[in-house]
Symmetry: C2
Subunit: 358 residues, 2 copies
């Protein structure tokens, strides 16, 4: 079978060396062999998130960690500000609604990043707001948010800043502590190069102070259980052992390359994709393009879904647009295990399909 | 390296053919290729649970599905009866407590199964009780509960019966619909022969009726989202794709052997373990031994933890006792991918270590 190219913003291709590690005979999780694996992973995850806080791992999709960011810090009836500029901002709002947390929705046009001044104004108008929710990269629109500037704004208030870094991490720059981020949420199947099934979360001391007052019910996603276990080199519930083994291998590779070098390489890949698509006459959809994934507009009068389908028939999987963007954009990921050669090959296919498309 | 034997009650060894399937290049989850995989898995899972209800899959450890059984059916302030005869009965109670559900604890001596008449009496004394929580196999004590008789008792009331089948499924007999079980919870790393990371849940029509009134907050574990997605051949959140691929392979193997034949084979393995350990002079810990895992008492004056350690040094991993049973019992699993040859080899090691133990 010819090589298949998976260039969607998650899952991303898993390097063969990681696949092989995960395919070894399974081990038990209450053993030194396993605790060494996740202790090592935790240490490198801190470097990836650029934080001194513990980064704990859940067995869940990224949404589980988004929920954990809410249920561990907030109380019923609390007011929060949620930036809604795409599907994942909406998800934060939906989870808050499910838990009886009042959402002040800050709706911005899809494909744009929120103006930090607007967040400052909204905070001033909602002094009771306990938290502000944003994404690093809003995956549905391939847009990067200015977390640093928003962190400066939110950090000057009593509110905490919760950031979904799921798709942006390790492609778009992110510095949890320096940028005054209080809750950072990540996932396994993007920049971290492993299959979906693990999610990550870290809390700042400011968030932990709020945690002490939180009354939302939780058990499986109760951070305190994980933190307590971590201190005892243990896990509260049976973890996804094979994925954790893959994570350790992925983190070792990232550390060997250097976190910043890894990020820089993906930025260069993003720039390559931007240049190639521009040369094909495709315009950028996002006003603030992410380095994790690029969204290009499908030319006027052409059917984006047919284009995605034509590429897929030639072995290249891109993501189309979601909801109102269906058929209008194509999203090309350049994160995690996607390398330059994959991008060259895949963009050649895109170029060919574009010409053939009626 | 010599073969390592993992005979703990989860995780269990993953057959090589399943490992290989999971190690193939990853695919995207919003594709026909993937939806066919999970639709096929759902069909066989129904046969495994012996139910006409949909069995949905969460990316989580089994505890996540236990929580889902609670948050999808109950409301704040509800009263429930929880049988506590080991660590996993306790867990159901702890989750209920976390959500403000009042627990009538039916504490029974560890290593015994609850008397259905006692459950009937407790239900009569607590007419407002909305649910009864039990295990099929209480893993911590290797004890099987008489789900059929308890189902007959609970089925005659308005309460629902919630059963944790995580470790018992596919070794101890289980018939969800026929036995009037309303909520069945399962996990991937036991009888199903795949690594940890997936959990399963099915609801009876009686449980779904209660679900309509449930006011406990939920999002990631909200069954309605999964059911709605399933009807559209979709998943609400990115699933643990590689584990799901392994699941499909495992279920194909189980279906080829026949669910009942698979269960019978494990019962025969359990009987073999009972006979061999009896011949070694080891007595059974449980008064109602499960066919999934056998717990034997460590001989008086001997240190069970040292025995487990000695076996581990020879490549055989058994589980010891938990909490008050630490050092007092050894648990030998004979579920999922553990085969007769593994058991023969491992019991030979146990026999040798037992003789050498001071």
């Amino acid at each position: 079978m010819a090589k298949q190219y998976l260039l969607t913003p998650g899952p991303t291709p898993v390097p063969e060396i990681i696949q092989k590690k995960m395919a070894k005979p399974i081990i038990h999780h209450r053993t030194t062999q396993y605790t060494e694996i996740f202790a090592a992973a935790n240490q490198v995850l801190k470097k990836v998130f650029k934080t001194n806080s513990d980064v704990v791992t859940f067995t869940s999709s990224g949404t589980g960690a988004m929920e954990a960011g809410i249920v561990n810090t907030l109380s019923k009836g609390d007011t929060v500000i949620v930036v809604r500029g795409g599907k994942f901002g909406e998800r934060f709002a939906n989870i808050c609604n499910a838990y009886g947390v009042k959402v002040v929705a800050l709706d911005i046009p899809w494909g744009t990043a929120p103006d930090p001044a607007l967040i400052q104004k909204t905070l001033a108008q909602n002094k009771a707001a306990k938290a502000v929710f944003i994404s690093l990269c809003e995956t549905s629109t391939a847009t990067v948010y200015d977390v640093q500037k928003i962190g400066a704004v939110v950090g000057a208030t009593d509110a905490i800043l919760v950031v979904d870094t799921i798709s942006g991490l390790l492609a778009d720059e992110f510095k949890m502590d320096e940028w005054k981020v209080d809750v950072a949420v990540g996932g396994s199947q993007k920049g971290l190069m492993i299959p979906p099934g693990l999610a990550f979360i870290a809390f700042s001391p400011k968030a932990e102070a709020l945690m002490a007052k939180s009354d939302l019910p939780k058990f499986y996603f109760d951070f305190k259980r994980y933190k307590k276990s971590l201190a005892a080199s243990d896990v509260p519930f049976t973890p996804a052992i094979t994925l954790e083994i893959g994570l350790k291998q992925a983190l070792a590779m990232i550390e060997a390359e250097g976190v910043d070098t890894f990020i820089k390489r993906h930025r260069q890949d993003a720039e390559y994709v931007r240049a190639r698509t521009k040369a094909m006459g495709l315009s950028m959809y996002s006003k603030a393009p992410s380095y994790a994934v690029t969204a290009v507009n499908v030319p006027e009068g052409k059917d984006g879904s047919a284009l995605v389908k034509a590429c897929k028939a030639k072995g290249v999987t891109f993501a189309g647009g979601q909801d109102t963007l269906k058929g209008k954009i194509i999203r090309i990921a350049h994160m995690g295990g996607i390398n330059r050669q994959d991008l060259e090959d895949a963009l050649n296919v895109l170029e060919g399909c574009l010409k053939e498309l009626k």
